[in-house]
Amino acid sequence: MSLRISTAGLHAQGLQGLLKRQAEVARTQQEMVTGNKLVRAADNPAGAAQAQRIDHAVALLDGFERNAALLQNRLQLQESALSDSGDLLGRARDLAVQANNASLSQEDRRMVALEIRALREEMLSVANRQDGSGRALFAGRVDGVRPFTDTAGSVTYAGDDGRNRLEVSPDLPVADTDPGSDVFLRVRTGDGHVRGTALPANTGNVVMQQTSVTDFAAWNGQPLRIEFTAPDAYRVLDAGGAVVATGAYADGGSIAIGGVQARLTGTPGVGDAFTIGPAPTRDVFATLEMLADALDTPAATAAERARQSNLITGALGDISTAQDHMLALRAGTGARLAAIDASDESRAAQNESLRTELSQLRDVDYAEAASRLSLQLTAIEAAQRTMLRVQQLSLFDRL
């Protein structure tokens, strides 16, 4: 059935079509001007919600990036501080080896001691370094303090044991700088496990050259005491004072007992003794201070000389263990820096994929929009023309 068309209806129909086309053109124009095809959530409700979430995730990535830059700066500073500390310890070790030479005069040793004290000062300044924004590197979680203070030869620590963790990527926390107590204070001595000490009252000139754990299974961690019963005989006592071994001593020979081996040189006096026990921790400043003190002490007699030599040898072991400690911390720092580098890449990848997704959801495809616009413009022109033409048709014109 063909509908009868009224003139007003014809007009309204043309007008409606024209208005609708115009709305479409306006819409496309808005898309092209703003570059955003998701102006209203109604166009794609799920997509709009997703776009908002992605916006949030992208915005947060900036924060992670800032965190990563900050941590990277602090950890790089920590790494160079650790490397400097290691160098200082190495220099101190070289000096100690040099000073242990019997040919050196007391005056020479005093000079060495002076230099070691200077190294200690330098070490203190390394430990008190800041990160460039006013925060100490090695104060743990305590703010606004100078972490290490030297008072009358002993160093006190004002920081704490805390270590912040910070997200450098979603769900990837990386630890901040190590607390100063871990870096400079709780440093193992001896060989890292066991440390031998000469008794100060020793009368002979025996020097304990080295003490180490050779068999961890056999070592029970209890202190031992090597006592010379004769210039060529020793006995070993346990913590309770019971004799656990006896043996003959030869200069330069080793005494092995309970998984621990000690190498001694020189001639003992009867009753001279050495204690061997689990290595305690000591701060590096005290280790250097003790070394300097030992070098400062005049050593005239053979016994005094042996005592000094024992102290220097002990300090040598302590220092090389401290060097190992610094190296281990550097390895840890390096691992964290590597994690930050990796997070940079993963963040960049994440950013890229999020932005791609966002772009797919929201960005206008200009080629498509332009061709759509030209089509819509053609349609609007056609609508205008037909309307004009149809309006011109009137029988009244012919009357």
Binding site: R4, R40, A48, A49, V142, S181, R186
Partner: protein, 626 residues
């Protein structure tokens, strides 16, 4: 002869009438609601003469109004639906734009706030970072308030629109009633133009409230709203009104004004624009506002909880960063008891946004959804010791309620408007965890502190410090109590705190656990703040506030899309109906031009008939004169 003259005259008169009808049609070609008219011509039977019946010309049998009652009924129906959908789609589109436009939505300040929180986690002692977080909080709270104010503005606008529309409804109803009177007074032959005017008003009325019509035998038209509410009965028009909501005086409801006062009508009793307004308010605006408030409540409360659980720069427990208005429980105006209800949010995981109605039956309280009336489970008796618990709130009833007393409970609606930053001191940001641990300097083992944290704030309250001492690598004591077994990596917990260690402890190693002192650079609590955006705390722990924001955008967008699609479909239907009406009732000028020519020619021919009769008569006179 006089027959021919009479016939010619009748034709002249009839065609004159026809021509003036064409003229009327042409004149009203653009008049809204006009139905074209047509004269129905009928031949006039003549008188019998010698068994031959010669017709006596033409007469106008009827002036016909070309209209189809069924098409009209469909048009009225469609108008109501169109009005409703137009209203919903337009208003929902505005809400949609508010939530989706980055200039008005929460998304930018939300991200900025959490970036600032990250900044505090990165540099907990930086005054700049802390100030940035306070600024971020101000902006976020401000945006939340703005968004809520915008929604409240739309709500006010619906009130105003409804008042205007109701006035229009009353005007149209009384006009229809008046036309009814006029049309009935014409008896069986009412003026076509009166009918058109009435139909036009019925259509306009339908657009406002939806309409169904029933024509009476006397020609009067009864009009009912889409829900069956009589608007016009014969000569009598109902008076519609707006009344303040009995729970919330600031919002208007659609009502019928009767002789005994006004009666609020249910929302489904009207369609059209008024129905669309009510539907928009009930289904889009109110839920969106309540949900916005729910998100604000969840965010502010959980952020405050984190603040409270941390230590600020001065070493004190953190104070609330945000202040929030408590949920409102408004009494019904008709309540006879003196009860008042105070509500507070106690459980974010079960917090529900939709408004509820609480009812006291004389012995117990019950809760129902304000929209739809579905029952909502509620426990408790309402005393301070055993508060009513519903939708994540706890309610304490003070004073005595009488049976039948009702309260409107808005768990979260409007909460966003009360979101304020309560603390503006950057040092008040509680970035630090409240507990710290320290290894003793003389420890021989390799164990060092990994983390120390508070696991139970209540048990931790008043903590002054504790010492963990290892008897050996596998056992420890806490402040002398114990020993407790220790396995590497597992936490050491006591009194609401927990401590984890790296490495292996040996006998005699001690660790000191203590409250965090002032000026701590700890960022443990700031990290919790920065993670809050992803913390799933809503809907039973399945959705974060960020998720809920996305869901809200999607929901409002979906509702808008739905309304727009329905509107598009309805518009197509309406166009179809209008085209049908136009095809029956619309004026086609070409057709009128053709009719004009036809009737003009016929008129000229009739005039010619009279001229011929005159000639005949003159001939006869001439013959007689000679």
């Amino acid at each position: 002869m006089s027959g021919v003259l009479g016939t010619g005259t009748s034709a002249l008169l009839a065609f004159q009438r026809a021509l003036s009808t064409v003229g009327h049609n042409v004149a009203n070609a653009a008049t809204p609601g006009y139905s074209r008219q047509r004269v129905d011509l009928a031949s006039r039977p003549g008188t019998a003469a010698a068994n031959i019946q010669v017709g006596a010309g033409v007469e106008v049998a009827k002036l016909q109004r070309l209209a189809d009652g069924l098409v009209f009924a469909r048009q009225v129906d469609s108008s109501g639906e169109l009005g409703r959908l137009e209203q919903v789609a337009t208003l929902a589109g505005r809400v949609d734009k508010l939530f989706n436009d980055s200039a008005t939505s929460l998304s930018q300040p939300w991200s900025a706030f959490f970036n600032a929180a990250q900044g505090v986690a990165a540099e907990p002692t930086s005054a700049t970072a802390r100030s940035a977080l306070i600024d971020g909080a101000e902006q976020l709270a401000g945006r939340w308030r703005q968004l809520d104010a915008q929604l409240a503005g739309i709500s006010d606008e619906t009130n105003q629109r409804m008042s205007m529309q109701v006035a229009e409804v009353n005007r149209l109803s009384s006009e229809i009633a008046k036309y009814n009177v006029d049309i009935v007074s014409f008896g069986g032959t009412p003026s076509s133009d009166l009918l058109d005017a009435r139909a036009l008003r019925v259509d306009q009325l339908a657009r406002l409230v939806g309409a169904e019509t029933v024509e009476q035998d006397d020609g009067a038209l009864n009009v009912f709203s889409a829900g069956g509410q009589p608007l016009v009965l014969g000569a009598k028009a109902s008076s519609m009104a707006t009344v303040p909501d009995p729970f919330r005086p600031d919002r208007l409801q659609f009502a019928l004004a009767g002789p005994n006062g006004t009666v609020q009508l249910p929302a489904d009793s009207v369609s059209g624009e008024v129905g669309g307004l009510l539907e928009f308010r009930n289904r889009v605006l109110d839920p969106a506002r309540a949900e916005l408030g729910r998100q604000a409540t969840a965010f502010a409360m959980s952020f405050n909880a984190i603040q409270n659980g941390g230590i600020d720069a001065a070493g004190n427990p953190g104070a609330n960063l945000f202040s929030l208005r408590p949920p409102s429980a408004e009494p019904h105006v008709a309540n006879t008891g003196g009860a008042a209800i105070t509500a507070q949010v106690t459980d974010l995981a079960t917090l529900q946004a939709p408004d509820l109605v609480l009812r006291f039956d004389g012995s117990a309280w019950s809760a129902n959804r304000a929209d739809g009336g579905a029952a909502v489970p509620m426990t408790g008796t309402g005393t301070a010791a055993d508060p009513l618990r519903v939708a994540g709130l706890s309610l304490v009833v003070a004073g005595g309620a009488n049976a039948g007393d009702r309260f409107a409970l808005s768990p979260t609606a409007g909460a966003a408007s009360g979101l304020q930053v309560a603390m503006r001191d950057p040092n008040g940001i509680a970035a630090a965890s409240p507990v710290q641990a320290r290894a003793d300097a003389g420890n021989l083992g390799s164990a060092r502190v990994n983390t120390a944290q508070v696991t139970d704030a209540t048990a931790f309250a008043g903590f002054a410090g504790a010492t963990v001492e290892f008897i050996d690598a596998g056992q420890y004591t806490v402040d002398g109590a114990g020993p407790f077994p220790y396995s590497p990596g597992s936490p050491i917990a006591s009194g609401g705190w927990s401590l984890t260690l790296d490495g292996t402890p040996t006998a005699g190693d001690t660790f000191t656990v203590s409250p965090t002192p002032p000026r701590s650079a700890d960022n443990g609590n700031a990290r919790l703040m920065a993670d809050l955006d992803a913390k799933r705390m809503l809907d039973g722990g399945t959705a974060s506030v960020t998720d809920a924001m996305g869901q809200l955008v999607a929901r409002v967008g979906g509702q808008t899309r739905h309304a727009e699609l329905s509107l598009e479909a309805q518009q197509a239907i309406h166009n179809q109906v209008v085209a049908e009406r136009e095809s029956v009732s619309g004026v086609n000028l070409d057709e009128e031009a053709a009719d004009l020519m036809r009737y003009q020619q016929a008129y000229q021919a009739a005039a010619q008939v009279i001229a011929t009769a005159d000639t005949l008569f003159q001939s006869l006179l001439g013959a007689v004169r000679r």
